[in-house]
């Protein structure tokens, strides 16, 4: 099935969890925020929350920034 991750289409396994997706992308879960269909997920739910066809996932983290 296909989901959107940071605006890009991506094929994943049926019932894959958010934690598994992060692992597959080589992203440290303690460094990011995950928004699933505009809902910000609690980090402790990454393991249990599974993804569905067409889900829109946003993965964000801190980058260098001052203002603007």
């Amino acid at each position: 099935m296909f989901i959107q991750v940071n605006g890009e289409s991506r094929g994943i396994g049926e019932g894959q969890t958010v934690a598994a997706l992060l692992q597959e992308l080589d992203i440290r879960a303690d460094r990011v925020a995950v928004e699933l269909n505009l809902e910000i997920l609690d980090r402790k739910d990454f393991e249990t929350r599974s993804l569905c066809e067409g889900d829109r996932v946003e993965i964000l983290s801190f980058i260098g920034g001052g203002a603007e």
């Binding site: 992203i27 460094r31 990011v32 964000l60 983290s61 801190f62 260098g64 203002a67």
Partner: protein, 259 residues
């Protein structure tokens, strides 16, 4: 300076440094880290953005800035609506370790001046959700007071437009803000060089936040160090109390004993 007894406290949190720095516009994370260390700042602002999922080779900023050593202050930079600013603040909290947020709601792309009406609205929402909101605001004493009234534990008025390097364009308004509100004032944005930072502190600012003045300097590490001393010097001068300005001379050497 007796920095131990001259600590900045905001919402019960103690800050070691009165110079706060942004982490944008540096060549790489190594330079970022070196400049921050040279500045002596313990508060660093960061932005929240999408992780690059196609190229995972890129380092993470937090590999260089240990959140145990620095106070990470996420901003809502780039947000022009209340909805966006609130969304980014929530994401920052989810990605990070604290309730601190430097709230920006920008008015337009050319000036990057704050949309103060939107700022107050967004601050209200976030404060209700338990955020410690440090608002980036205009040098407007009335808005500063409103922000404090709704629960902001500090205000961050600009010296000049972000990245402009114009220095303090409206010192009198800043002074009025300092007299009007009883919370720490962090002068944010517009500093061009060390004297601007010293001046802000001499006026009575509790801290200064800057990014471009350091990152954009010909030698960022040297400028970071210059800013450290400027903020110290300005703070010391403020505490020492300057002499009044007078139109005519007053001799420093005694007349007595002259031939």
């Amino acid at each position: 300076m007796d920095t131990i007894n001259d600590r900045l406290v905001i919402a019960g949190r103690e800050f070691k440094s009165r110079l706060w720095v942004g982490t944008g516009k540096y060549k790489d994370f190594v330079e970022t880290k070196k400049a921050i260390d040279a500045s002596g700042a313990d508060v660093v602002t960061v932005a929240v953005r999408r992780v690059n999922i196609t190229d995972r080779s890129k380092d993470n900023l937090l590999d260089y800035l240990d959140p145990k050593k620095y106070i990470i202050l996420p901003n809502t930079a780039g947000c022009y609506t209340v909805e966006d600013a609130v969304r980014y603040a929530r994401l920052a909290r989810a990605a990070g370790v604290s309730d601190l947020v430097k709230l920006e709601v920008l008015g337009d792309e050319k000036t990057l001046f704050p949309d103060t009406a939107g700022l107050i609205e967004a601050a209200k929402i976030l404060i209700k959700e338990g955020f410690i909101v440090l608002p980036y605001t205009n040098d407007d004493p009335i808005v500063a007071k409103k922000l404090v009234d709704i629960g902001c534990p500090a205000v961050m008025p600009l010296a000049a437009p972000i990245g402009s390097g114009l220095g303090i364009r409206n010192p009198y308004n800043l002074k009025i803000i300092m007299e009007t509100v009883k919370v720490p004032i962090i002068v944010d944005a517009g500093v061009g060089t060390a004297s601007d930072a010293a001046l802000a502190m001499e006026y009575g600012a509790d801290a200064v936040l800057m990014n471009t003045a350091i990152a954009g300097a010909q030698d960022p590490l040297a400028m970071a160090e210059a800013m450290k001393y400027a903020v110290w010097a300005g703070r010391l001068a403020y505490k020492a109390g300057r002499i009044p300005r007078k139109l005519y001379a007053t001799a420093s050497s005694p007349i007595e004993g002259m031939l």
